[in-house]
């Protein structure tokens, strides 16, 4: 039990000890009770913010902890979304088959990540070229899907629909005889929130474990790690698969949330956003990334009322300021700042 707690608190994540976890529980309880004291519009919004956290967490593990910068997370996002669409439209929502669609939609991005990762890491592709290859893959997907407008582009009953994207896929449903539980509104919100909890805690455990220690060492000096007897490529492949799987999870949940998926979710701007959230929050820490993603998606939404370009331009400025002024990320820098102040006060007291 003590080992478990140690791993949870661990050396590679911020936020530990009683104070932090009590605060965490409080936040979680508030979040869980949101549907009881806000309207359905707010609940839908909150779900939207949470949907993106998985992609960001996955990118944090891969880039922040593993040193692998992939510009192509949106490829996995889009693949998962379209897969859910195709499978669920074809299978329908009876007999809980939507859950089958969900599983398949989560599986395919992981498989793609394994194949692409193998091609890259076992093929000696490193550093910036990983970024170029992954971006190229994403753009290939986007371009390909964008030209699937004609009626011949159909898989079973599901039309791919080119630029306009696919829509009309059924939400998650649990069939219970007469009354079905449809995952929409509050049930979907709680489902996503539960997933956030599970993924966040699970990744905390992973990152603080022996695996995480090696991963962070690989980030620092991959050749040296190989000389300590580790199969570095396997670790990189694993981190990449985790990143891909998490991006896929975001993709499926996004599709479930909005009942649509379009090629633009795989375009250049879309590919930039997770990088912005992760870099701005502090890529080397899971908690910072979680907080930053929720905060920034909320801010973007507020600004999008005036026009998408204002949201994006703010994101751009923010990223620039972070890179120049607080390269560790603004959430991390803030935490470090307060820690130092506290330590100074303790010293003077």
């Amino acid at each position: 039990m003590r080992r478990f707690l140690n791993l949870l608190n661990g050396p590679r994540t911020l936020g530990r000890g009683l104070q932090f976890w009590v605060g965490f529980c409080v936040v979680f309880v508030i979040a869980a009770s949101m549907p009881t004291f806000t309207d359905s519009f707010a609940v839908t919004n909150l779900t939207f913010f949470l949907v993106w956290t998985f992609m960001a967490l996955g990118l944090s593990v891969m880039w922040g902890y593993g040193g692998i910068l992939s510009f192509g997370q949106t490829a996995f996002f889009g693949l998962a979304g379209y897969t859910y669409g195709v499978v669920s439209i074809n299978l329908g929502d009876a007999h809980g088959l939507t859950w089958v669609a969900l599983l398949v939609a989560l599986l395919l991005p992981v498989l793609l990540a394994l194949v692409l990762g193998y091609f890259m890491f076992y093929g000696g592709i490193r550093d910036v070229f990983v970024g170029i290859v992954t971006l190229s893959v994403t753009l290939v997907f986007e371009t390909f899907m964008a030209q699937t407008a004609g009626p011949e582009w159909t898989i079973g009953d599901a039309r791919l629909n080119g630029f306009n994207g696919m829509s009309g896929m059924p939400p998650l449903t649990i069939n219970g005889g007469e009354s079905n539980l449809i995952f929409d509104g509050p049930p979907l919100y709680w489902f996503v929130l539960a997933l956030v909890l599970v993924c966040y805690l699970g990744l905390r455990l992973l990152v603080n474990s022996r695996f995480g220690r090696v991963l962070v060492a690989i980030r620092g000096n991959p050749d040296r790690v190989e000389m300590l007897g580790y199969n570095v490529r396997m670790y990189q492949l694993s981190a990449f698969a985790i990143g891909g799987g998490m991006a896929g999870l975001s993709g499926v949940l996004y599709t479930l949330w909005g009942a649509y998926i379009t090629p633009s979710s795989m375009g250049l701007n879309a590919a930039a956003l997770p990088i912005i959230w992760v870099a701005a929050g502090g890529r080397k820490d899971l908690t910072a990334v979680l907080v930053a993603t929720v905060a920034l998606t909320w801010v973007s939404q507020q600004l999008a009322i005036y026009g998408n370009q204002y949201a994006l331009i703010l994101m751009g400025f923010l990223l620039l300021c972070v890179v120049l002024g607080a390269p560790e990320g603004f959430v991390v820098s803030l935490v470090m700042f307060f820690k130092r102040k506290l330590a100074l006060r303790k010293q003077l007291a």
Binding site: V128, F129, V137, N269, G307, L320, V323
Partner: protein, 292 residues
């Protein structure tokens, strides 16, 4: 005779693609090849050049002068960005990628806010000519020659001028160059400005052939990246062959299955090249000649 006309049509498509790829890639190649900085704002320098060209031309300036204005504007912006932002990030590769990407976003969205989704453009000059039953744009037929002339001018610049020699010394071994009295900081700055100006020139040259929109940079960025990666670090050696091969692939695929498939073809090519020829064509050429 008809066969000859068809052959010319194919050649024209190829030359057009070659010109586009070369001109797109030049500015990026200079900056990446010389300084190892990946300038993701490259497309926006092109956009800047195009916008200034269009606005100056519509304000009454003769087209060649308007193009000069566009080039200069991009160079100036490049100078300012290098001095205040890029300069601090030379040793930080990830951060320079992220920073230039954010500059790109700010520039595109900023232009959207300031100038709206599009501005009224300028016409393609010089009219058209006929080959058989097909007509082609004179201007676009000339662009490949301009591209080649630019490559020649750059060759002269890097091989026969003081600046060029200092630049190449700085790329090879910056600390050694510094020790020999080369002002490496000034070289980096001038190189970045040169890259930005070349991008601006590309925008200026293509401005009469496209609609000026804030996101026009994205039409170039993918092509430029692909060309530069396939070319490898030695711009002089690799850029033209890279543009030629890619131009062939793109023209062929576009002709057979349309523009989007042509684009996909380029992307797939770059993935294959990264896997099989990581140092690009120029790296391949250099290795074959026995250099290490």
């Amino acid at each position: 005779m008809d066969y000859l006309f068809q052959a010319y049509a194919v050649f024209y498509q190829f030359a057009d693609a070659f010109a586009f790829l070369t001109l797109s890639g030049l500015g990026l190649a200079i900056i990446f090849g010389m300084m190892g900085v990946i300038n993701l704002a490259h497309g926006e320098f092109i956009m800047c050049g195009a916008y200034v060209t269009v606005l100056s031309a519509r304000a009454g300036l003769a087209l060649p002068l308007a193009m000069l204005a566009g080039t200069a504007a991009a160079g100036l912006v490049g100078y300012l960005l290098e001095r205040h932002i890029v300069r601090r990030l030379y040793q930080r590769l990830f951060d320079s990628i992220v920073a230039t990407w954010s500059i790109s976003i700010v520039a595109t969205q900023g232009m959207l806010i300031v100038a709206g989704p599009s501005i009224e453009g300028i016409k393609t000059p010089m009219g058209s000519f006929e080959v058989g039953s097909l007509s082609f744009s004179v201007y676009r037929a000339i662009l490949p020659f301009i591209a080649l002339a630019l490559l020649g001018a750059l060759y002269w610049l890097f091989v026969r001028t003081r600046f060029g020699v200092h630049s190449r010394a700085t790329i090879q071994d910056a600390s050694m160059a510094k020790a020999l009295g080369v002002d490496t900081r000034s070289i980096y700055s001038k190189t970045f400005v040169l890259g930005a100006a070349l991008a601006g020139l590309t925008g200026a040259l293509y401005a009469p052939t496209m609609t000026a929109v804030p996101t026009m940079g994205t039409a170039f960025i993918v092509q430029s990246f692909v060309t530069v990666v396939v070319s490898g670090a030695d711009v002089m050696l690799g850029l033209a062959p890279s543009a030629a091969i890619l131009g062939l692939i793109q023209a062929a695929l576009t002709g057979l299955s349309g523009q989007l498939i042509g684009q996909i073809g380029l992307l797939v090519t770059v993935i294959i090249v990264i896997r099989t020829l990581p140092t690009g064509l120029s790296g391949f050429f250099l290795r074959r000649n026995g250099e290490k």
